[in-house]
């Protein structure tokens, strides 16, 4: 019975892994095909595997600086991920523990996620122009922080909710200040929530396209925008092999980051189950 269950779990896992990742598998396969083979062989087998697509993408630096794009994305996404965590953590505590601002402020901020934020593009453009933030990593990072703010706040509030209140009560009785409670008591216990926020925030920031398009031109162009050098989604050609190669390259950093972070999650979960 136990063995049967175990095999069943494996079966479900393999099935889920295959179906969920089907487009990614196809992308990897396509990236290893020559242009002619993409047209001639639609299946998942590769007759003549080639690294040409990757080599082309990685070596045409005179026309497109993929390393520069990766750097820009990394810096901007880091700002856009860490900044909201820092500024949301205190208020998340106030909301979760004291219901402070949970009537108006909380829904107001969460609501930002429902809006297509691109409607801010023109005013932001004018403002950035004035402040000299156009086409800078900092400027892009700041707007990515805005994009990530609602989700960060929501997950942090949820995470702090799950921290038993007795913990900070105890610390308070021992005379700890609010800042000590926040940084030494609450923060360590809800680390999984912070880590999850970080993962989701980084993925969102890394994959953002429209603001990257609108607010950068030459020096701070992020990966998603630079990638579209090889294709145009409306009214132009697509070099499938190269597009696939660049998609793979663009997805590597968040994947690697994820790998590190899952360990964190697993470890903190083993470290102390606190819920309930």
């Amino acid at each position: 019975m136990a063995l049967l269950m175990h095999s069943l779990r494996w079966l479900v896992f393999l099935l889920a892994a295959f179906i969920l990742n089907f487009p990614i598998i196809s992308t990897v396969v396509t990236s290893l095909k020559s242009r002619a083979e993409v047209n001639a062989n639609a299946g998942l087998s590769i007759q003549q595997p080639t690294l040409d697509n990757f080599i082309q993408v990685l070596t045409v630096t005179d026309r497109l600086n993929i390393y520069g794009y990766l750097q820009n994305s990394l810096v901007a996404a880091m700002i856009g991920t860490i900044l909201p965590i820092i500024i949301c953590f205190p208020i998340a505590y106030a909301i979760a523990r004291r219901n402070y601002g949970s009537n108006i402020l909380f829904p107001l901020v969460i609501n930002l996620r429902a809006l297509p934020l691109i409607i801010f593009s023109i005013p932001l453009y004018l403002m950035y122009q004035f402040m000299g933030l156009l086409d800078t990593r900092l400027g892009l990072g700041l707007i990515l922080a805005v994009i990530n703010l609602p989700l960060t706040l929501l997950i942090l509030v949820n995470g702090i909710h799950d921290v038993p209140e007795e913990l900070d009560e105890a610390a308070k009785i021992e005379g700890a200040s609010l800042w000590i409670i926040l940084s030494r008591v609450v923060l360590p216990v809800c680390r999984p929530a912070v880590v999850v926020t970080f993962i989701f925030g980084f993925i969102t920031a890394w994959n953002e396209f429209l603001f990257g398009l609108m607010l950068t031109t030459r020096d701070a162009v992020p990966m998603t925008v630079g990638a579209s050098f090889f294709f145009s989604s409306g009214g132009g050609g697509i070099q499938w092999g190269m597009a696939a190669a660049i998609i793979i390259i663009a997805a590597l950093p968040p994947t690697l980051l994820g790998l590190v972070m899952y360990r964190q999650i697993s470890r903190s979960m083993l470290g102390g189950a606190v819920k309930g």
Binding site: F22, P116, L149, S177, I238
Partner: protein, 290 residues
């Protein structure tokens, strides 16, 4: 709950960083956008909008496309959020013993999230193509036929499945964490009391992770509602606007039609309505808790 030992300024200080940040970045843009929404403004006069009252709002309410897009977004958000939560919750609980033994398996399941949705949409243009796409290729090979994935009658289902496949991992991760954060002592106690596994699951574990599922549903609903990238790249606005979400509608009105005032009026309407919904939902939820 109300033991406010610290100074009375404590809460405002806690709130200040976020509020200041938002005001700095979105204060001026919000103000300008609200002015735009009451003005005749296109790309040629972004610095000199002409005030004209409620005309943009009227235009939005009279535009059948606005309502069609709203319906699309609501339907899409509800269905994808439900499917993602159902699948994600099931996988999280069912695979939990496996994932606990081998944490790296989780990384494989998280892969779909790592690809930018716009690029995902692009790849699906290849994957679903009748002649060069692997999916139709195998369907033709094995069954002699392949459905037209992006035809008028199938396109909704197709984008629904695409979105669900990409974001089920999101729910899976949240649920998996919540499920494993349940205090093992509770389970032991229940088992000692004679609870069977399905009783344990239904009466003890599920209620404990329900809040997380609710949060996950809420996030996925919002994200589904504002869906843009992958659909925009895959089908554009869709034949006759059949895959026009509210975000796509606003984007098209803004950039392609160049009617900035109308696009912003639609956004203000969206913002106000969704704020009211959230505001009420939070009150109801809190009353429920008490």
């Amino acid at each position: 709950m109300n033991t406010r030992i610290g100074s009375q300024y404590e809460n405002p200080i806690l709130a200040a960083p976020m509020i200041v940040f938002l005001l700095l970045l979105l204060g001026f843009p919000s103000l300008l956008n609200i002015i735009y929404s009451f003005s005749a403004v296109g790309f040629s006069n972004i610095r000199t909008p002409e005030f004209q009252g409620l005309q943009n709002y009227q235009a939005v309410f009279n535009d059948p496309m606005f309502w069609q897009a709203t319906r699309f977004s609501l339907k899409f958000a509800t269905l994808t959020a439900l499917a993602e939560c159902g699948l994600g919750l099931f996988l999280a609980i069912f695979l939990s013993p496996l994932l606990r033994q081998r944490p790296w398996l989780l990384a494989i399941l998280m892969m779909p999230m790592m690809v930018a949705p716009a690029m995902m949409g692009l790849m699906y243009r290849l994957v679903l193509h009748e002649f060069v796409g692997p999916l139709p290729h195998y369907l033709f090979k094995w069954f002699g036929d392949s459905p037209a994935f992006l035809s008028a009658s199938n396109v909704f289902t197709t984008v629904f499945v695409i979105e669900t496949l990409q974001w089920t991992p999101f729910v899976l991760l949240l649920c998996y964490m919540a499920y494993n954060a349940i205090n093992p002592e509770i389970k032991e106690a229940a088992t000692v009391d004679g609870a069977r596994p399905h009783q344990l699951l239904w009466y003890i574990e599920l209620p404990l992770i329900l809040p997380t599922v609710a949060v996950a549903f809420f996030i996925r609903f919002i994200d589904g509602f504002r869906i843009f990238d992958n659909i925009f790249v895959l089908t554009g606005a869709g034949a006759g606007g059949s895959t026009t979400s509210l975000s796509i509608y606003i984007y098209q009105t803004f950039f392609r039609a160049g009617d900035i005032g109308k696009a912003l009026a639609a956004s203000v309407v969206l913002f106000v309505v969704s704020f009211l919904v959230l505001f009420i939902a939070i009150r109801v939820l809190r009353r429920g808790k008490r």
